[in-house]
Symmetry: C2
DNA sequence: GACGAATGCAACCTCTATTGTTACGTATCA
DNA sequence: TGATACGTAACAATAGAGGTTGCATTCGTC
């Protein structure tokens, strides 16, 4: 795995879980299927848990499970949970001194923010159960 | 600069050029405005040139200029010229052995490809001249 | 209560991608 | 001929992500 592996891992895992929502899965099992490491899995799934998409149970017979029905989880939920803004630059550049450049800068960041927002709206139209369909 | 700096630099430069398409700009000037380095600028703008969005002139009084009218350059052109697929995993994972996992894998990559395609379509709706309007 | 299994989390290493920088070749125009 | 600017290669420095180990904590079972 290399690029966008977090999003890929999240989608794989969630899609897999959506096929049998009641089954509890351990990070070790998931890591085996994904060809990675339990700690890496817990790292990514921890973000999904914080976003309320998954629940985790500690201790013996513990593991991970969907927190909601697959119909109630959209790809936008997943994308936002991972908190990786693909398009938008997160206010990294210091505001330029020149006022003309400043206006230009605001215009560019505004456009990129719009694009990101549109992408999120499109993602919100697809749920995990939509992905299940053959 | 850190994340998506290439796309950001490209959009800044192109948007700036769209405001006065006939003026020739040197990589040094652009680098000054963008707060970076002439070589970095030439690197990024070289991709835009290969994609036919810019023309460059060597030698004395040389520099960079738009190759087409601002109305004829969309953000999708820019994105594709930079050749950085933000969403799609470029067939990096080896196909899983288990057939069930294989089907799941194809489903997930298909969804990610759709997402990328959606993003590109959205980008194609905005031109450089659209960005000029405040 | 003790033991095993699982998450939660921190620290670290390694690898890769990107940026920044220097240097040099080449082309163009005065 | 000389100044200017692109084109490109090579290298250092940095940042980010994945991988790994270790350990504390929690929960079920014996």
């Amino acid at each position: 795995m290399k690029r966008n592996s977090r999003l890929s891992l999240a989608l794989h895992t969630l899609s897999h879980m959506a096929g049998d929502p009641n089954q509890m899965r351990t990070s070790a099992d998931i890591a085996d299927h994904a060809g990675t490491n339990p700690v890496v899995v817990r790292r990514v799934l921890g973000k999904l848990r914080k976003a309320g998409l998954l629940t985790s149970v500690k201790g013996h017979a513990g593991g991970w499970r969907l927190a909601r029905a697959p119909e109630a989880i959209t790809l936008a939920d997943v994308y936002l949970a991972l908190d990786e803004s693909l398009v938008a630059t997160a206010a990294d550049d210091p505001a330029p001194s020149c006022s003309v450049e400043h206006a230009l800068h605001r215009r560019v960041t505004g456009v990129m923010r719009d694009i990101e927002q549109t992408l999120i709206e499109r993602l919100a139209e697809t749920t995990l159960s939509d992905m299940q369909g053959h």
